[in-house]
């Protein structure tokens, strides 16, 4: 740049059009003020359309809703296009789509949660269910219970304990490995070939079917402990780790990546070693995302059954030793109660147990989530949203 020879603004330009719309080749798209009243009105119309389709014309609910929504989209677009111009119309349509996405998701999710809660609540909060195991409980007890000649026996205590132990171990294995790997990818290996490959293979790893992970862990432990004693809690934890690690890595990677570089530089410039910068600045800044990612990863594996049946076996009694013998977990418990009721002829008590176990599982994750959020708020940036 020849500094001083740069002439001041565009003196050599032809006279400048002072309005954007005066520029040749530009067609402006103006926004006229609108309110959300037409949208509300149209939403009302759409609801009516849906009701008419459903009740009067007996169209399938989903179809009625979709049709009504399409009616809404089209009319909202048309109305806002006339009122506010195309940009406002697009804005409204996308707003509608985003709200619709939300409703779309909430409906099945609410139905599912409702099913779990309503089916499981009766049994799940029963103290005896919470502190009894299934040791010695047979179909006869269920039959007696249904006939009214005996109490309800048999709970999920051992499965709760097993869930905590196995998932806890899996978390202890996966979180450090996963977190460190993502640190390698983002902080140490930046742009290196190895980091790229690792990221690629982590993606590949997300596609390992859970049962294959179980078979792999079992095969591994057979090599170590021999076939007779290979089934144990820790084998299950290893299997779950294979499933969990990629989730942790991928999540953490994304969260670390969005930590602004200027914070790293601020710390480095204070003479803070790189590892401390990562530990004390980068990780806390990303804490909220990391915590929610880790919770998500735990949630992802806490409901696994197939690999645990293969690698851990099925326990009816309490086993606190992750290094010997089968254990039970809530998901496996629910699975076997669903598919192999204690008494095939009297299925209800087993189903009750299954739903209760499912509900407990969800509650455990609620607790984990709250914990994660607590941790996150302790570390999280003190401002912003």
């Amino acid at each position: 740049m020849s500094t001083l020879t740069t002439p001041p603004t565009g003196t050599q330009d032809p006279p400048r059009p002072s309005r954007l719309e005066d520029v040749d080749g530009v067609v402006l798209s103006r926004v006229r003020p609108t309110t959300n009243r037409p949208a509300l009105l149209l939403a009302g119309v759409a609801v009516v359309v849906a009701l008419v389709l459903r009740l009067a014309l007996d169209v399938h609910v989903a179809l009625a809703l979709v049709l009504a929504f399409v009616v809404y989209l089209v009319s909202v677009y048309a109305v806002y296009r006339t009122l506010g111009g195309p940009r406002v119309a697009v804005d409204q349509v996308l707003r509608a789509l985003i709200y619709f996405a939300f409703v779309c998701a909430i409906v099945p999710l609410a139905s599912l949660l409702w099913t779990v809660v309503s089916e499981g609540a009766a049994r799940a909060f029963n103290p005896s269910f919470l502190n009894q195991t299934m040791n010695g409980v047979t179909g006869l007890h269920d039959q007696d219970y249904v006939e009214g000649t005996g109490p309800f026996v048999g709970g999920a205590y051992h499965a709760i304990v097993g869930t905590l132990v196995i998932t806890g171990l899996a978390t202890l294995i996966s979180v450090p490995i996963g977190l460190f790997t993502s640190i390698y990818i983002v902080e140490y290996g930046a742009k290196s070939r190895l980091a790229r490959w690792i990221r690629f293979f982590v993606d590949v790893m997300t596609g390992i079917p859970s049962i294959v992970a179980g078979l792999f862990a079992f095969a591994l432990f057979v090599q170590i402990f021999g076939p007779r004693d290979a089934k144990m809690g820790i084998a299950g934890a290893v299997a779950l780790s294979v499933l969990m690690i990629p989730t942790v890595v991928r999540n953490s990677e994304e969260m670390l990546r969005i930590v602004p570089n200027e914070l790293r530089e601020a710390a480095l410039a204070l003479g803070v070693p790189k590892w401390r910068t990562i530990a004390k600045v980068v990780l806390p800044t990303a804490a909220s995302g990391l915590a929610s990612g880790i919770t998500l990863a735990i949630a992802r594996v806490i409901g696994e059954t197939a690999p645990l049946l293969v690698a851990v076996g099925y326990a009816r009694a309490l086993n606190l030793d992750a290094l010997a013998g089968p254990m039970n977990t809530l998901a496996v418990y629910a699975y076997s109660m669903f598919t192999k009721p204690l008494s095939p002829a009297v299925r209800d008590p087993s189903l009750e147990r299954a739903w209760a176990a499912a509900l407990l599982l969800v509650l455990i994750v609620v607790a984990l989530n709250l914990l994660a959020r607590l941790i996150a708020t302790i570390f999280a940036p003190k401002s912003g949203r």
Partner: protein
């Protein structure tokens, strides 16, 4: 950051490294390498166990027409189910993530985010039971309608009365992966720098235009990451599909019984399998592994992730 992505030599000015850095960097590299080892272990395990099936004569394989004839319909089922699940879940998940991060009032957004996170925890068995008992029956009439009105398309040829079809399974898979994609997308959308959002707004962007110019480009790599996680789960999901789907031979028909996915086939038949049958199933697992590999290569090929545009600056 417009430095060309060459592998120019980096000056490591000093040989001196502090113990903390050595440990921390070592742990990072170690973990990364450990992951590669585990993956290699899984691959070797799959190949070794699948070997008998790979080398067995065709007539000994289930179906009697060779391993590939046994596996490809499952490949079809797996891919179709995952694709449908992704097609449904990805836009919805992005929609929800935007809803939570930019549209909903803060409280509501947080509550919604929370509920959706919970869903990741619902065991797949429960998704299966719910899908079979609650969801599939509701879809039965819809399938009947599809057959009646769109039956000329081979995909909607013959409706299942029970609703336990590949399409149903795909939709349930979509519900299952929704929390995964949503959660990651939400976190990155929330991290969009204020500055960029305000830059867009100050230029006279509508809300959507602001999202399109500032939020989505910034969050895209994260969304892709979440999508890959979701895809992994969709490809690998066992129990839910095994329970919901009424599996059977290959068919183009998505709204009737038939088709099966690889993980479901493994989960269903593994318990009674031994010898060559087990080997066949693991060979199917190996194929799935290769599919995942291919899908990821493909994804990488399409989106050269991040490139020069890092959000971090």
């Amino acid at each position: 950051m417009n430095a060309p992505a060459t592998s120019s030599p980096r000056t490591r000015g000093s040989a001196v490294r502090r113990p903390g850095d050595v440990l921390f960097g070592g742990a990072s590299l170690g973990s990364a390498v450990l992951i590669l080892l585990v993956l290699a272990g899984v691959a070797v395990f799959l190949v070794l166990e699948a070997l008998p099936a790979l080398t067995a004569p065709g007539e000994d394989i289930t179906g009697g027409r060779g391993l590939w004839a046994y596996i490809w319909p499952m490949v079809f089922g797996t891919v179709v189910a995952s694709v449908i699940a992704m097609v449904i879940a990805t836009p919805i998940a992005i929609g929800i993530a935007l809803f939570v991060s930019h549209y909903a009032p803060r409280r509501l957004g947080r509550a919604v985010g929370f509920v959706i996170d919970l869903l990741a925890a619902v065991p797949s068995v429960v998704f299966g039971m719910w899908g079979m008992a609650v969801f599939a029956p509701r879809l039965g009439p819809l399938y009947a309608w599809l057959e009646a009105n769109l039956g000329w398309i081979p995909l909607f040829a013959d409706a299942s009365a029970s609703g336990r079809t590949l399409l149903t399974a795909s939709i349930v898979l979509a519900v299952m992966i929704l929390p995964i994609i949503t959660s990651v997308s939400r976190e990155v959308f929330l991290q969009t720098p204020r500055l960029h959002e305000e830059a867009a707004l100050a230029l006279g962007a509508t809300k959507w235009e602001m999202i399109r110019t500032a939020v989505i480009p910034f969050g895209m790599p994260g969304v892709i990451g979440g999508t890959m996680l979701g895809l992994g789960r969709a490809l690998g999901e066992t129990m839910a599909v095994a329970i919901i789907l009424s599996p059977g031979a290959f068919t183009w028909n998505l709204i009737g019984s038939g088709n099966v996915t690889i993980p479901a086939e493994i989960a269903l038949n593994f318990p009674e399998a031994s010898g060559l049958r087990l080997s066949e199933l693991i060979a199917a697992g190996l194929v799935l592994f290769v599919i995942t590999l291919a899908v990821n290569l493909f994804a990488r090929w399409i989106v050269d992730r991040r490139a020069a545009f890092s959000g971090a600056n």
